[in-house]
């Protein structure tokens, strides 16, 4: 998973620039996922713990559709050589379908039931891919996933094209999210998040809105996964771990600020910098720390989550309250972690 960002020695300017380009590309993809999670959790209070499953579905769907026909050495379905953008759309839709399948039975129930239902999905998907002969080449994974806009530049400079693509897609998703959350639909979502009973009294079928939010968010996660697959060129089940795909994104949202889109992007940048930057200093650390830098990094993530929840639940960029809360508790922050609305009921 850390192969996403190459680790060249930062001793050359070019090395530094290359690293930064790769880093920004990766963070850009994460930011797209964070925006999607923000729609689900930050705006609607939908508690999705299986982010990486949707990401993975998008990645695999797009890969399988855009690859060449499987030859003797590749053992997978499809391989229809579709153009890359179509693959992305298909990946997005597939993730949306998964969201629908999981969401329909669970979103009408307690909020934490969705979380429980989603924790295992990624494991099941990885397991299914690993063990099903002929589906997606099992553990060996898929290789040779085509690049988008490959012909524009020479090989080595493609990283800039990729960065451009990712940033464009990020901007696109951001605009869509901003529009959606500012719209009347977005206001209903916030209403459901903050005070379910009032929303229901106003005649809104809250479950329907939750499903919509969950599915839309899932689709965006699938899109991010598809972009990821084409950026990597090769994917396999182990590359989609829960720590990397799910927990890290949650940390980004908690740190950056849930309930507002800028916070999601900021969180992706900040946490991403911490996550991908720490291996770089591995050489500079004393041996005892250096060999354990990955575990220390994980511990830092766990501590970060807890500390932020305890001290600044609204994140670095807290959402501004738009309406006065009827029963705000002093100092509880704002946005999705505002205590006024959280409860066990559907």
């Amino acid at each position: 998973m850390d192969l996403l960002v190459e680790l060249p020695p930062l001793i050359t300017f070019v090395g530094g620039v290359n690293w930064t380009v790769g880093f920004l590309t990766t963070v850009g993809i994460f930011a797209i996922v964070a925006l999607a999670l923000n729609l689900q959790w930050g705006y609607t209070g939908v508690f999705n713990f299986g982010i990486v499953a949707f990401f993975m579905v998008g990645a695999y769907t797009s890969a399988l559709l855009t690859l060449e026909r499987p030859g003797d050495f590749e053992n997978h379905i499809l391989g229809l050589e579709w153009p890359v953008p179509l693959g992305w759309i298909a990946g997005s839709l597939a993730a949306g379908v998964l969201a629908l399948l999981i969401g329909l039975p669970t979103l009408r129930l307690r909020r934490d039931f969705l979380a429980i239902a989603t924790i295992g999905v990624a494991t099941i998907l990885r397991s299914a891919v690993n063990s099903t002969e002929g589906l997606a080449n099992r553990g060996a994974g898929l290789i040779g996933i085509p690049r988008f806009l490959d012909g524009l530049v020479d090989g080595a400079d493609y990283r800039w094209v990729m960065l451009g693509i990712v940033l464009t897609m990020l901007a696109f998703v951001y605009v869509v999210m901003a529009a959606a959350t500012a719209s009347p639909w977005g206001r209903v979502l916030r209403g459901i998040r903050d005070n379910e009973d009032t929303a229901m009294a106003a005649g809104k079928h809250t479950t329907v809105f939750r499903v919509q939010s969950f599915v839309l968010g899932g689709m965006v996660m699938g899109l991010a996964g598809a972009i990821f697959a084409h950026r990597q060129g090769a994917i396999s089940p182990t590359g989609f771990s829960d720590l990397f795909g799910t927990f890290l994104v949650w940390t980004m949202l908690i740190v950056g600020g849930s309930g507002n889109n800028r916070g999601a992007v900021l969180g992706a940048l900040a946490v991403g910098f911490f996550w991908f930057g720490t291996p770089l200093i591995q050489e500079d650390l004393p041996d005892f720390l250096g060999t354990r830098v990955f575990q220390l990094r994980e511990i830092a993530i766990g501590v970060l989550i807890i500390v932020f929840l305890l001290t600044r639940p609204g994140g670095l960029l807290e959402e501004e309250p738009r309406v006065s809360r009827f029963v705000p508790k002093p100092g509880s922050g704002s946005g999705a972690f505002n205590t006024a609305h959280e409860e066990g009921g559907p």
């Binding site: 009827f326 029963v327 705000p328 508790k329 002093p330």
Partner: protein, 242 residues
């Protein structure tokens, strides 16, 4: 004589919302005192604050001469002041006996003897002490809730609308029980919506309107008070119904 319970200028509410504004009430030992008033007047809120369930924004409460303003519910219970909430006032998955045992949780000894005593006070519960509380009727549940509060021999019993949602026959029974309890030396402070029936049994009453105390009289005086009657007891056709 010093009142058993004295609340002075209590202000309380929920979160940042003030509902009760500087209300003072008292209860003497062996009295039945009822607080009446329209919906939303803050009667339950006041009672909960006195019982230590809600924090008081300002003012103080003393019980038996001690300052209990900062005390929470378990500590109030330890001093002899028990509270019965209006709803969700029994443990549904526990049996009748177990519910009572929980009321006696702070006892260091003699719990089963006390359980037997309390069961004798409520024959309908004594018949099937192993029955799960969720299977009880409304009236039985209310009886159990009150029984639970009596487990530690309290000197003050605080009841929040004990007869809400009960049939007239059951209401009679509950009020009978309340009088019995008072006759055993326990002071009772209750909030009631069925004002007429409650005041008929009460030594004194308070009227709370919009979070403020507007009247204090003896039970009989309040029953005969034309203003109160018109506004709350529905004694005249022109008044709002009780």
């Amino acid at each position: 004589m010093t009142p058993l319970l004295e609340a002075v200028d209590v202000t309380t509410g929920y979160g940042e919302l003030e509902i009760v504004h500087r209300v003072s009430i008292q209860t003497e030992p062996g009295e039945i005192v009822t607080i009446i008033g329209p919906n939303g007047a803050g009667k339950s809120t006041l009672l909960k604050a006195i019982a230590g369930v809600l924090p008081k924004f300002s003012g103080n409460v003393s019980f038996d001469g001690r300052d209990v303003t900062k005390l929470n519910a378990p500590k109030m219970v330890a001093l002899g002041a028990s509270f019965v909430p209006q709803t969700d006032n029994v443990f549904p998955s526990l049996s009748i006996r177990e519910n009572l045992e929980m009321g006696g949780y702070q006892r260091t000894s003699g719990t089963s003897a006390r359980v037997a005593e309390v069961l004798r006070m409520f024959p309908e519960l004594e018949r099937r002490p192993g029955e799960q509380a969720s299977n009880l009727s409304g009236g039985q549940r209310q009886a159990l809730a009150i029984g639970r509060a009596l487990m530690l021999d309290p000197r003050l019993l605080m009841l929040d609308e004990p007869t809400a949602a009960l049939s007239p026959v059951m209401r009679e029974e509950i009020f009978d029980r309340v009088e019995e309890i008072r006759d055993r030396g326990v002071a009772v402070l209750m909030v009631e919506q069925n004002a007429k029936e409650a005041l008929a049994r009460s030594d004194r009453g308070y009227v709370l309107v919009a979070g403020e105390r507007v009247l204090e009289q003896s039970g009989e005086e309040m029953l005969n008070n034309a203003d109160v009657g018109r506004l709350f007891l529905g004694l005249e056709p022109a008044g709002r119904g009780a």
